[in-house]
Subunit: 407 residues, 2 copies
Amino acid sequence: MLLVMKFGGTSVANAERINNVAGRIKRKYDSGNKVVVVLSAQGDTTDDLIDKAHEINKNPSKREMDMLLATGEQQSVALMCMALEAKKVPCVSLNADQCRIYATSDYSNARIKDINTQRLKNELDAGKVVIVTGFQGINRKGDVVTLGRGGSDTSAVALAAKLKADLCEIYTDVDGVYTGDPRIIKYARKLDEISYDEMLEFASLGAQVLHNRSVELAKKYNVNLVVRSSLSNAEGTIVKEGAKVESMLISGVAVDKNVSRISIIGVDDKPGTAYKLFSELAKKNVSVDIILQSIGRDGKKDISFTIARSDVNDAMSAIESVKSRINYESVDHKENVAKVSIVGAGMATNAGVAALFFEATYSAGVNVNMISTSEIKISILVDEKDADYAANAIHDKFMLQASAIRH
Amino acid sequence: MLLVMKFGGTSVANAERINNVAGRIKRKYDSGNKVVVVLSAQGDTTDDLIDKAHEINKNPSKREMDMLLATGEQQSVALMCMALEAKKVPCVSLNADQCRIYATSDYSNARIKDINTQRLKNELDAGKVVIVTGFQGINRKGDVVTLGRGGSDTSAVALAAKLKADLCEIYTDVDGVYTGDPRIIKYARKLDEISYDEMLEFASLGAQVLHNRSVELAKKYNVNLVVRSSLSNAEGTIVKEGAKVESMLISGVAVDKNVSRISIIGVDDKPGTAYKLFSELAKKNVSVDIILQSIGRDGKKDISFTIARSDVNDAMSAIESVKSRINYESVDHKENVAKVSIVGAGMATNAGVAALFFEATYSAGVNVNMISTSEIKISILVDEKDADYAANAIHDKFMLQASAIRH
């Protein structure tokens, strides 16, 4: 079968790890697979290069930064080929230019537009393992551009999609997707399967195993993804359409502590208020997550919303600048909050889920500030100090009682 | 004017030196010049990368080694651009692919075939300083190839030739070409000018200021070269056609200690002997320098020649394998010899040069083993222990008495 394997920076951080990964690639190749490998830069290489740049210029152009950073992956792929050569595996390394990965011109945050796989296919047909630089593409000018956070995952999925690969394996330092962060959720379990949509919700809820863009791309082109550990032979978690999360109603619980709540009190209760407020926030590039609006009374209403903590200053200045147009009474800002969410494709069709969720928070004695729901997700805002406790209570309730409800 | 400036690895070894070089580039740019800059990899980067590779594979393919090493120059050019950006100099970095430097496919030792300067010219016309990776090109496949030793000098000269630049400045850690190695020749003087041919003889005699290939290219395309220091504002040495070496008969004295002499005693004195011997040596890739053949007597003759010390084993096995065909009596091998040479375009037309040369060695009491002459060079083989002394004696004789002879 045709296989795309992606390894992150920690998996290739030194000679020993490179040799380990080369051994893993060799086993796949020796079993008769066609293998494309996507690599990130070694260990701290990218950070070291950024430091080196900042020593010379605190604010270098993104174009030159991309030119600099792209060398990290090029070193990884060349070194990996040398390790494979030592194991007598025919192979060739390709950078983004040689692999013809065309991307938009947005230096430091480009998107892959297309891949001309002619050379890649020729090399595969010649019996070679092809090692490709992740995280980068070339734009219309022929300049190197990088793909932004999680870019190597996206490179791997894009190559798998374009080559119609049978499987895209994302090797990482955890052995799959869990029902919750094992550092927080005591009884977290590894999932065998999860659907694209659930994975997307998970990622956006702060469980960064895969970057959203790569999952969106996998969903769009129906790429079979596996998230697994580069340190063990454990099976990992399959991400695919219509994945069955066993007998569980939810696929997991996520906690996001990078949350602030802002409440605007006593806003004029008339049409256009929300538009004026949120378009001003958008102008400042502030992403709003949960929004809650009270029912108007005496011609006034309250609007509350959550944002990332790093956006608080920008949000406050946006609100200040819109004061005269929405005519509010006061602004309240609460820092110590956290978002606890459950994700599960099954919940949309099961009325018992919400009830079970709130039973869990009630039994745990946790006060719920805000609630937001989607087809496959319920999120609540709680005090930060209650978040881990609430998450464990919810997790235990669902994992233990799930089958009881479904049947 | 259109200017190509080339800086070696020591000139860009760290942030401080990069900033110094950026300052120098800015001054040229601010004076109204169009500037193309060619850079080597920083300091020990290339050696460090080679070590990294050898940790993984003692004998990696040259293709992957080139892929790895090419990142060194790419980092240099990006960092240099960042330094120029900080000084508000418009600039752009180009790697060999972006600069369209086409080369032969000989990984690790490619030769530049052509350069498509379209993008380069566009960037210059847009008022930018263009910073180009030295030492590398792309081959027909689009693979990165490196140009071998002294490759960045060759990149700079090739760009200057193709762009018809007014001047190509090679910045290095010495402030020009000297009449002799200042570590050996006590009264060595810096030359203001030297001709291409003299520079070529110098380089081949072990005075590695410029690599031969770059000088050959400069001569072929009549590129005005200047060798100068990146650490001072001293004028440097101009390398050009018909350079006038002031009132001196010779442009300098060179000493090469990487020499072994082999003598084959009692060879059959008949046609074809030399051919059989030297074609066998060529097969083993042994370069022969000075050759001396005795006049035949009693149907036998002796053949002596000099080679690099690292080639002695290969030479001996070649001689052994040809024994039955040339029927020699014995082989003598002398390790501790050195070559002392004088170079000067003026010597061909001046009968006094050879006499002065041998007067100097005679007065110094140095025994001459072998003699070899060309139009602009005289070389002698002496015992290694005598080499520095002989070189100084010759240098003093010519520098002091040169004008006396000419006039």
